[in-house]
Symmetry: C2
Subunit: 439 residues, 2 copies
């Protein structure tokens, strides 16, 4: 295994934290097991982490992960085994699944992700068909996947309360489309299981719901292990009714930027950290790394120029940004070949199945790395489950154990978030005009 | 990954069989999923396979596998993930397990197996203690494991209806001791889960029960896929009241040897196979490769010399052999570095987690390889779950898929066998004198 070159600048409290996680492994695994006894685990999930040395925290939790092609291929069996467990729950008695992809059929990386995901599901023994929402897909369409054969996109169809693909009637629909544009009518009110559920889409999801749930999870977890939850949990606040272009609601943003910077300065002082605090301002419902900026002073909000305002004002599918999250920034002190890097951990069902470093040669340790120019280095994944108390806390297997733990805390938070948003979504769906529901 | 050099002499019906298994993967995986819906899967299991090219069959199914040290260490995460599922069932709400080993503390290989198994369980987050049945272990005793640190053996103790190890009260007892010598009183009637159950021990198990269950499983499976079950299933018969030293019951053995050789000759003729049929005669309750002989003519039974009779008459723990299995021999046409080899597949819960080749430089393709002088070569285990229809059926990943399928058929058979022997065991236990039950 080729282990990427890991560098962590700060060795103080983080090593202490990692050592505590390692020593508490039985307690942690037991606590995680107990979390899943009365919660529904999302089908899959990827979590972007930032490792500041003194702090390790999730900064983005994706319920429609799109980088399966970036996982080390040697560990596909781990993903297949985890997918078996997930499929057992969804389709104990059937073998057909329709995978609903994003609509960008010309993005090579995305197509490779789709091919990798379909491969995993086929290894589980599922018949997998790709049901596209694209209006221009009106018949089975073969699309080349550079370096990985081809995929057939087929139009997804509705028959009564079921969706089909060319007569193929699946037991479940697996969404790899984050529904930023809303719920397509073809998926409304179908009998088949939809994984993850419709309300996991970005038409419903809010980062603030996720981080509010994560906040509670991190507090309970940190209390169990007897340390400050801040070491795993970034401060955040939200502002509504923001209009970046119309300069509405800026006072709210400036106020919270100031407040969070003050709180972070106090924490840095408590732990003797010399770094300069920063804050991330991002769309509460945004994805794809869009609508994100890094701020070190409230005045930067006031002084945004027109180009910057336009960039913050819209996210994927051209959606206007109104709700904004202001979140403590977590430095990333990891580098791969001298470029700034952040780990992304992939989970299927409740199992960590791999991960990679998102690496950006043009960005700094206090910037968003999910931006054009990034590249990916697979995590050396013999290791995530193999911490070794005899080794140093910062040796890769031990660091990876810590990553797997924090990623799974975010997964628990995602499960809670989905529980808490389900009722409101169901009520809103029930209240839709009858015509639309029948469309 | 270092893929061992695989050679398969015959290319005919076997390739056809492997191709069918590959093509039927969704059907197979779906059928296997359905098998586990109303059956209890054993905690772990290893299956010795023989691949004759024209036939692929299990020849031994071990419910107390002892070769975890022979699995490729790169794939420990696969075992850890599978063990998580197994532990979830046994100890959803606890974190302590006592591992009960065999009594040979001076066998380096066995100690390495124990260390590997304990390592897997610790990665799941279990507190693992080794509770020994050895009378000479009266206090915690550190035992060196060559090349792998040390293990602490502690005396297993009884307190009311629970077993403890130095005050440590586990939620489950994991047996890695095959109970050839019977059920130790300390384990009788305890509240804690025992994995696998007591009646999986060789004091109850009979190979004939296992192969009778396998026979039904193979028939159902072969019918589902539309081929001759003989391709996966060796003929067998049993003789009782055998006394090798006293020359009792030999007519039964000779008769069945003749009968099976005749049946096999007919099958070989049907498939155009030029090999010489042989039969394996083995103790119905034996293990450790003891009490096994390979026979090509009924007269060999009559003509056994005294040394041979003595060898067949007793198995592990000095137990007398009375019940004998006569089973169609399956040639092994696989070789590793020119030595005869047979694959051994390891499973935890219902998941294939690895395997190795048992290799013997001094034995022939029609002999038992589980004998002094054998060595082990890990299976190249990136592959068991990764068959690729685009590749040739005999390319390693595809062959390994076939191995994983047949091993899992044997696992289903083991589950059925345990279901069917439970009631008789419980009744026998209930009928024991009260004093003994309280001991």
């Amino acid at each position: 295994m080729n282990v990427p070159h890991l560098l962590t600048a700060l060795k103080g409290p983080m090593l202490d934290l990692e050592r505590r996680l390692l020593e508490a492994q039985p307690t942690i695994e037991h606590w995680l097991r107990s979390q899943w006894q009365d919660r529904t685990v999302p089908f899959y999930c990827s979590v972007d982490l930032r490792n500041a040395g003194f702090k390790l925290a999730p900064v983005d939790t994706n319920l429609f992960p799109g980088g399966f092609n970036n996982l080390a291929p040697e560990f596909t069996p781990l993903a297949v085994q985890a997918a078996m467990t997930a499929i057992d729950k969804a389709c104990p008695d059937a073998r057909g699944i329709v995978l609903v992809p994003e609509n960008h059929t010309r993005n090579t990386f995305y197509l490779q992700n789709l091919a990798a995901l379909a491969h995993i599901l086929r290894q589980v023994g599922m018949n997998v068909r790709i049901g596209s929402l694209l209006p221009e897909i009106t018949a089975p369409t073969q699309i080349e996947v550079p370096g990985n054969g081809s995929l057939v996109f087929e139009p997804i169809q509705r028959k009564g309360n079921r969706v089909l693909v060319d007569g193929f009637d699946p037991c479940a629909v697996l969404l790899n489309n984050d529904l930023s544009a809303g719920v397509p009518d073809v998926l409304r009110g179908i009998e088949q299981a939809i994984l993850p559920p419709l309300h996991a889409g970005w038409h419903v999801r809010r980062k603030s719901n996720h981080f509010a749930a994560y906040d509670r999870v991190a507090k309970e977890f940190a209390e169990l292990l007897g340390f400050d939850p801040w070491l795993l949990d970034p401060f955040f606040e939200t502002c509504g009714k923001i209009d970046f272009r119309g300069r509405q609601g800026e006072e709210c943003l400036e106020g919270y930027v100031e407040e969070i910077l003050t709180d972070v300065r106090a924490k840095y002082k408590e732990y003797g950290i010399q770094e300069e605090p920063f804050v991330i301002v991002k769309a509460d419902a945004g994805t794809y790394g869009m609508g994100i900026m890094s701020v070190k002073d409230p005045s930067e909000i006031r002084d945004l120029n027109r180009r910057q305002r336009n960039k913050m004002a819209v996210v994927k599918e051209g959606l206007e940004v109104h709700d904004v999250l202001v979140q403590e920034g977590v430095h990333t002190f990891e580098t791969v070949d001298d470029a700034v890097a952040e780990p992304v951990v992939y989970m299927l069902d409740r199992f960590v199945v791999g991960g990679f470093y998102r690496v950006h040669t043009e960005r700094g340790k206090d910037q968003n790395l999910n931006a054009p120019g990034m590249h990916f280095v697979p995590l050396a994944f013999a290791s995530p489950c193999l911490p070794d108390l005899a080794g140093a806390p910062d040796c890769p297997p031990n660091r990876f154990y810590a990553y797997g733990v924090v990623a799974r805390l975010a997964l628990v938070a995602a499960a809670i978030e989905l529980e808490e948003t389900e009722a409101a979504f169901e009520a809103a769906e029930a209240a839709r005009p009858v015509q639309a529901a029948r469309a």
